[in-house]
Symmetry: C2
Subunit: 197 residues, 2 copies
């Protein structure tokens, strides 16, 4: 019912994660009514980012330079590599300033259901990185899900020969978390891993 | 932490209705990983739509032609004008094929809280349209909210002199609605407006 151009825009917007047909229509209308301030700047930012951004050949991060700023930053500790599933996880850790080493982005997790095998992930390139004598620790920061842990387990086996120290993130009650709202698995883990004060 | 281009893209996406900072990051990452299939087509669709789409001078609909396809369509009944708050409402009525006349889009509702007065809305241009002898009925299809009803009331007063018939949409139980889940106001209205079978 709307013009063909608008229909196409709505269809494309509806493909983005977090937007369905209804919110895509709202977003399209919002932009059409704010062409100069929202629509054209967004069109330009998309074209510009598509042009400039690529994947870091070393770690799999996305950046406008290759190797990415994190890999190229001499102030970051080259001895520790943090393995994450997705670039979004890397961004989350960076926002929290949780880590001052370097990263390795897998680009997903092993999943029998979704047919994701080790060759589909950025795992092979981690082996030579871990074998570098300058690297002393690999932190497996995959999600605490079944697939995430399966992937961490697989990587642990693959890195066994390298002799590098392999660690994983702590499990327990999240900061600010209320016991009443936590799942049983987290509570059992938090009890089992309790620490002296 | 991400590249400046990516940060700007995320900021712009986060301004869209329905997207917050987190979903904007997810959407940006989704697009960066699908440049050819999602990102560039969307950039092009945005630029194209910004170029081609405008507001219909007659009714306030958005379309690539002016007057819009609905105003220009000779098969649509010129005797009935349906007044809606937003273009999104017009789209919803068109999707439902609820109406075969023409529209008038107000562009909002009167709101003392938000400081929206009659001059801010597309009301003035409705007066001569309603005064056209070819027009026999004005349907006020504003939302069934306080602001929507205030606006309908104001328009009714403004159109009093024109002598045109003014109607509003029926109130009652929505199709598929369960009484147990409906609010008191709807139930009271549905009882008061009950009809013989």
């Amino acid at each position: 019912m709307a013009a063909a151009d608008v229909e196409r825009l709505i269809r494309l917007l509806a493909k983005l994660p977090g937007l369905g047909p209804r919110s895509a229509r709202r977003a399209a209308l919002h932009m059409i009514q704010r062409k100069e301030t929202v629509m054209l700047p967004l069109a330009e930012a998309l074209a510009q980012t598509a042009e400039s951004v690529g994947v870091c050949a070393t770690c799999g991060n996305v950046d406008t330079v290759n190797p990415c700023e994190i890999c190229a930053d001499p102030r970051r500790d080259p001895a520790i590599i943090c393995v994450v599933e997705q670039v979004g996880d890397l961004w989350a850790l960076e926002r929290a300033s949780a880590f001052r080493g370097r990263y390795h982005v897998l680009g997903g997790v092993l999943s029998a259901l979704d047919g994701v095998s080790p060759e589909d992930l950025n795992i092979e390139s981690l082996i030579p990185r871990a074998a570098d004598p300058a690297v002393t620790e690999i932190i497996l920061a995959t999600n605490a899900t079944v697939d995430g842990q399966t992937t961490a387990h697989y990587i642990t086996e693959r890195l066994e020969e390298s002799g590098v120290e392999i660690t994983r993130l702590a499990r327990g009650v999240p900061v600010g978390g209320e016991l009443d709202y936590l799942d049983d698995g987290t509570l059992v883990t938090a009890f089992a891993s309790r620490k002296g004060i």
